[in-house]
Amino acid sequence: MATSSIAGPQREARDSVVIRFAGDSGDGMQVTGSQFTLETALAGSDFSTFPDFPAEIRAPTGTTFGVSAFQIHFGGTDVMTPGDAVDVLVAMNPAALTVELNDLRVGGTVIVDTAAFNERNLGKAGYQRNPLEDDSLAKYQVLKFDITKLTADAVKPHGLSSREAHLCRNMWALGLLLWMYGYERTATIDWLKRKFAKKQVIAEANIAALNAGHAFGETAEMAEHMVGYVVPKADVEPGRYRTVSGTEGLAWGLIAGMRAAGIAKLVFAGYPITPASALLHTLANLRAYGVITFQAEDEIAASGAALGAAYAGALGVTSSSGPGIALKTEMLGLAIATELPLIVIDSQRAGPSTGMPTKAEQSDLFQAVHGRNADAPLAVLAPSSTADCFHIAIEAVRIATKYMTPVIVLSDGYLAHAAEPWRIPSEADLPRFPVTYRTDPEGFHPFLRNPETLARPWVKPGTPNMEHRIGGLERDYDTGHISYDPDNHARMTKARADKIAGITNDIPLQTVALGEEHGKLAVVGWGSTFGAIHRAVQIARDQGRDVAHIHVRYLSPFPRNLGELLRRYDRVLVPEMNNGQLVKLLRAEYLIPAESLPKVTGKPFRVTEIAQAIRKIS
């Protein structure tokens, strides 16, 4: 499909653009956003996306709490976050307009479907008067189209019911936006054909709506503000790329880790919970790769089944979100006591308790590091981007199997759904760390430690002459038998702590992501805030400030040089999406006066929020 004809002189250049598609949860905004993302990727731009959908599956039509949105930031440079301020807001109804308008920058464009701004919808959204008919939108460029009617006209030849026709509105809007940025429609048309392979009429109608939206932009029917834009291609490393979400990164990373360890099976046990379920769904489709998924009766059973699988010699993985991780706590204690490898993926969400299930937070750091009865250390890792999810999952498998310990991976609701372009690695280039199951009975007992790693041997039940018993009761250091001896318990407590602490010698030194290895201010983050912190530090440095960005991927134990590195800065600022958790761990561990920049709105940091905080203190 040729698009070159419209790349005329009226197209304006933009470094990067932020678009938010917003509508009812039944309006197909997530699909619209995903397809726009795909076309962006295929055109060679960098991007970062963020879906924001309501907890209600189908909230009543037209209500503010039923608004579903998808944001994409795309362009040639500096695309590290889904974007602070929205340049273009597509509002399919009044509720979407009222909910999302605050994030639209002054002078930004808002595209509305006028037909949706009827008395009923305006009332549901809380509007006394129609905002399209007064001056309340004067700060913005408002493009008013009767998308409902234009879509209905476009799909008329296909004989759809009015309801079916209404469902094609999103494709009309997508067509218009694709025109605005000079993007192709081919991938979307292919996708529609595949998706509605069994309902060809629906596929054709949607394609007609898509083409109509696109043609609408191209023809003279538009307002004078309706100009096209061009965004540059990203300057990235050559190679083959694809889109990856954090969920996909984790799923594929777990499989890659299993293969790197030479383990035959991955048993993934989960229980439905937002936003962690996506990982269960993804892995359930990957059985051909040695994955067995098990939807357990509850979170406890999920962790138990994963631990049982680990005991039997498989890679045991369980996954949940904050409240579900809380339920797994006791099983984590057993995994620590019996020293079995277990991977726990925590897709953090806003809490406490049920909190805001679809909103992201980083507030399970304390739970991960310390949230168990007794002295119960384990390893904690956090991916810093969706692409990093893949590598962190592999690293979690390496540490769990080498040190015979549970490893918690702290993802979050943002990483789980966000997507970025990813240079696809080749399996041949990935690390290998084959595990050895002990089969030699000579001198064996189940808690005999490897002098270097302090790990106990992994023995598969089924191995002759290696029969042994393990459990949650304290055991003798020298024989593995049950022991209530006081000195032995002290010795075992120390052995468990030393084993985890020793991992620090087997992980990379902490590096500085941006800036010098000393200076006035270090901004220290962890997890999904990487992009926002990085960009904010970049801005501050461009302004001549002496600031560095440090991003911690290993949270327990910390990299062995972290304390020394942080002491080389006058001040340390810790932005995190919680009420101040990493900052307290750093203070406790290194006795440094680290300062907190908390954000607990359930939304990711904006670059400007961090940039402002940096300005204040540097």
Binding site: L42, G44, A187, A234, V236, P238, G239, R240, Y241, R242, W252, I255, A256, R259, V267, A269, L286, R287, A288, Y289, I292, F294, A296, E297, I300, A301, A302, G304, A305, L307, G308, A309, A310, Y311, A312, G313, G316, M331, G333, P425, E427, E442, F444, P446, P461, G462, T463, P464, N465, M466, E467, H468, R469, I470, G471, G472, L473, T479, G480, H481
Partner: protein, 343 residues
């Protein structure tokens, strides 16, 4: 840990005992159960390296430490979940779950429900002593109304759960009951349970000599036993009494059992494949005789069998990771424009 290498194919019951000193109270019914399990293992010639005993918490849960097989003493109530994970990872293992009335029906009641309905191939042995022993004598979910205990000084006002009725309600396909002291019977029930593919549920009435001594006396006492127990056998009439002079039949016009003089033409014949009959038998309680033996046995494909059958049929790219990573839309940057799609 002492490692003994046994090469002889035929192991004696003592070969299934670990080198650990057994630490139940003197006179505890658990000793008899341990003996019966070891005897059953020897009779069946089980390979110790292929056998795993999994337990939760409680007196019964100490069981794995006393066996020379593989053993995993886990978390209170969760043994069915851990055992499920073991079977998913390695369906070839012979996995036993040793549990009690508190472990299996109170804190672990949910797991018991689901492991039975899923029909995971496990031998689940529930020691029912109607009391929490390890925590010093509180009433349990199987304690009868009126049970006085440290936490019910005025007597329990809760209605007990019937272990076998619960198991049948959960959809278990093998349900049996026996008694710690009923040795040959218990061993034969254990062997039947082991032979059954899928989840086998065995309730053993077990005497807690310290906190609930003689609670089953009205069923197990030598004098009363013949009248208080009906030993069920597939294809045989349901008769009991010293001289088999009593029998069970359906009370005409109802769905209830009644005791009549035997022999009689309309006595019920035990059919272990008949779930409604098993439910009637499981629910019998004094003054009716308590039913002992295999109440229900109706095999079907086990959970992990079906999991592997599905996995074998799963579509995929022959397990090629690179193909997986390159699936769906990809695009090239540099060195020639274009996009690729791996179908």
């Amino acid at each position: 840990m002492t490692v003994t290498t046994i090469t002889d194919a035929q192991l004696a019951p003592k070969d299934y005992a670990s080198d650990q000193e057994v630490r139940w109270c003197p006179g505890c019914g658990d000793y008899a159960i341990l003996k019966a399990v070891q005897k059953a293992c020897a009779d069946m010639g089980l390979k110790r390296e292929h056998t795993v005993f999994v337990s939760g918490i409680g007196c019964a849960a100490r069981f794995p430490y006393y066996m020379s097989t593989y053993g995993f003493h886990t978390v209170h109530g969760r043994a069915p979940a851990i055992a499920t994970g073991i079977k998913l990872a390695n369906p070839d293992l012979d996995v036993w779950v040793m549990t009690g009335d508190g472990d299996g029906l109170s804190i672990g009641g949910n797991h018991m429900l689901h492991v039975l309905r899923r029909n995971v191939d496990l031998n689940i042995i529930l020691f029912n002593n109607e009391i929490y022993g390890l925590t010093k004598g509180q009433y349990s979910p199987t304690s009868r109304r009126g049970t006085r205990s440290p936490s019910t000084p005025l007597g329990s006002i809760e209605n007990p759960v019937s272990a076998c009725a619960f198991a049948l309600g959960a959809g278990a396909r093998f349900v049996a009951r026996s008694i710690d002291t009923l040795q040959p019977h218990l061993i034969s029930v254990l062997k039947r349970a082991h032979a059954h593919r899928g989840a086998s549920f065995v309730e053993i009435l077990q005497n807690c000599v310290v906190f609930n001594d003689a609670v089953f006396e009205q069923i197990t006492g030598k004098e009363v036993a013949p009248d208080a127990q009906v030993l069920v056998e597939h294809g045989k009439p349901l008769v009991f009494g010293k001289n088999k002079e009593k029998g069970l039949r359906l009370k005409p016009g109802t769905l209830e059992l009644e005791v009549v003089a035997a022999p009689a033409p309309d006595l019920l014949v035990h059919d272990e494949t008949n779930r409604p009959l098993a439910q009637l038998l499981a629910a019998l309680e004094p003054p009716f005789p308590t039913a002992m033996g295999v109440l229900f046995c109706s095999p079907a494909a086990s959970y992990e069998h079906d999991v592997y059958a599905q996995t074998g049929a799963a579509p995929g790219r022959g397990g090629d990771l690179d193909a997986l990573l390159n699936s769906e839309r990809t695009w090239e940057v540099g060195g020639g424009e274009g996009e690729g799609e791996v179908p």
